[in-house]
């Protein structure tokens, strides 16, 4: 179901944390360009959407956010588990 739209920024933060935890997303703090991180994050969103069989758009749409908010196991879905 939808969540109140005013939480969009929260969603972006939540999604970044989710992708860091489960899809080995690392924000490039040194990058001067926010667009670099956004592009990298879009790649990771695509990876997550492909894993769950969602439409691969690279965008944080509602279905993707819904999936990220589902209770789950804490082990990453991507292999770079250390």
């Amino acid at each position: 179901l939808p969540v109140a739209p005013e939480t969009e920024n929260e969603d972006m933060h939540f999604a970044q944390k989710y992708l860091e935890n489960f899809y080995d997303f690392k924000e490039d703090k040194s990058s001067l360009f926010k667009s670099t991180n956004l592009a990298h994050m879009a790649d990771k969103i695509r990876e997550m959407q492909a894993f769950f069989g969602l439409e691969v758009t690279g965008e944080l749409n509602r279905k993707t956010m819904d999936m990220m908010k589902q209770p789950r196991c804490g082990i990453p879905d991507v292999r770079s588990y250390s």
């Binding site: 819904d66 999936m67 789950r72 879905d77």
Partner: protein
């Protein structure tokens, strides 16, 4: 599996339960863990022996927040548990988030310890996540009936790739199963599932009507957090202000215990609450959650016993009144006083100009009421209750 395929290089693996959750009887925790191990031993040569002191290969514990490894837990919801692949030290260990509500049942109010433990022990034996919807090693929790629980073939293929099939059985894929459940289980609720890899199987035997079928009618319609939800049988059409396309779902996706469908529904948006009516009962939900104490009899709202079911309901957020339609009459329910207004029921046709018949469904949006009767829809100005225009019932689907 994990990188380099870590696995136990022996068939006798030990485990130890270091502490217990206060949510469950210790005996129930012991049983859930034992059953979870049994699931894996039934499809491999592995044998699991429980230790009560000293070091075991798989150390099982409940903890919350930071608990000594690099993966702190996150409070209720979100991450439920994690476990480490086979190796020395922390390898194989399984940690469960004590901030969750653990249960031996499969209800809305908690997470079934057997299901989560079976998944985590899959990691303890070397399995990674599966993206096969319905597999035990799928990363997202899905409440399922644990009686006669069977591993998905994907899980069996994975674990047998690491350890091979059980000694005494022929080397063909086996269906792991559990002995008949001894604990009485409450009535099963449908598994809560997100959009799986394959399209959700529709609940109702009938086929979903086409969006642009000119004869399309609805049982109930309500707004919900900015969206409009159209109900027919067990199907839902969702119209969102954020997305152009109509989303098709089934009621069981959101409220599995209400999958049979509704007669009427309305939203009190200020309370983030939706009321559903079916026959002579009603439920209050907030998001996915059905509020405790429901369903209640519609007589609690002030209806006479002669009223057996509701046709439609719509809330006027300006007056805080809810109009509830039964046959050719309607009542006005005051949400503030939680009681029926005096002087009702009244004839629909007397107050809503142009609505000279029964109402199947209704909702309010942008200062208008939308009344549905058969495959027609009537837009009525809320203030003067005057008919503005007549449309087809599915005009919202951009046909």
């Amino acid at each position: 599996t994990f990188p380099q395929n870590p696995r136990w290089k022996k068939e006798d693996v030990t485990y130890r339960i270091l502490n217990y959750t206060p949510d469950m009887l210790q005996a129930d925790v012991d049983e859930a863990i034992a059953k979870a191990f049994q699931l894996w031993s039934s499809v491999t040569p592995l044998r699991f022996n429980r230790l009560y002191s000293g070091d075991a290969d798989i150390m099982i514990s409940f903890a919350s927040g930071f608990h000594g490894d690099f993966y702190s837990f996150d409070g209720p919801g979100g991450t439920l548990a994690h476990a480490y692949p086979p190796s020395r030290g922390i390898g194989g260990d399984a940690h469960f988030d004590e901030d969750e509500n653990w249960t031996k049942f499969t209800t809305y109010s908690g997470y079934n310890l057997f299901l989560v433990a079976a998944h985590e022990l899959g990691h303890s034996l070397g399995l990674g996540h599966s993206n096969v919807f319905g597999a035990l090693m799928y990363p997202i929790y899905m409440a399922k009936d644990t009686r006669n629980y069977r591993l998905h073939q994907d899980d069996i293929n994975g674990i047998q790739a690491l350890y091979g099939p059980p000694r005494e059985s022929p080397a063909f894929p086996t269906k792991a199963f559990l002995p008949q459940e001894t604990t009485e289980m409450p009535p099963m609720e449908e598994p809560t599932q997100m959009s799986p890899r394959e399209e959700p199987t529709e609940m109702a035997p009938t086929k979903r009507p086409e969006d642009c079928d000119p004869h399309l009618t609805f049982d109930a319609i309500t707004t919900l957090r900015g969206e409009i939800l159209f109900f027919k049988g067990s199907y839902v059409w969702r119209k969102s202000p954020y997305f152009s396309q109509i989303e098709h779902d089934t009621i069981s996706t959101f409220w599995p215990s209400l999958a049979a469908g509704f007669d009427a529904a309305y939203e009190i948006d200020k309370k983030d609450r939706v009321i559903f009516f079916k026959d002579n009962q009603y439920w209050a939900v907030s998001g996915y959650r059905i509020e405790p104490g429901f369903p209640k009899p519609i007589q609690n709202l002030g209806f006479p016993r002669t009223v057996k079911k509701i046709d439609a309901a719509v809330h006027d957020q300006n007056t805080k009144k809810t109009y509830i339609f039964v046959g050719n009459k309607y009542w006005s329910f005051d949400e503030n006083t939680q009681s029926m207004e005096r002087g009702y029921p009244r004839k629909i046709a007397a107050d809503f100009q142009g609505i000279g018949h029964t109402v199947d469904a209704a909702f309010q949006k942008n200062g208008h009421f939308y009344f549905f009767h058969g495959s027609n829809q009537y837009e009525v100005d809320i203030k003067n209750k005057k008919l503005v225009r007549k449309m087809k019932s599915n005009s919202w689907f951009d046909c």
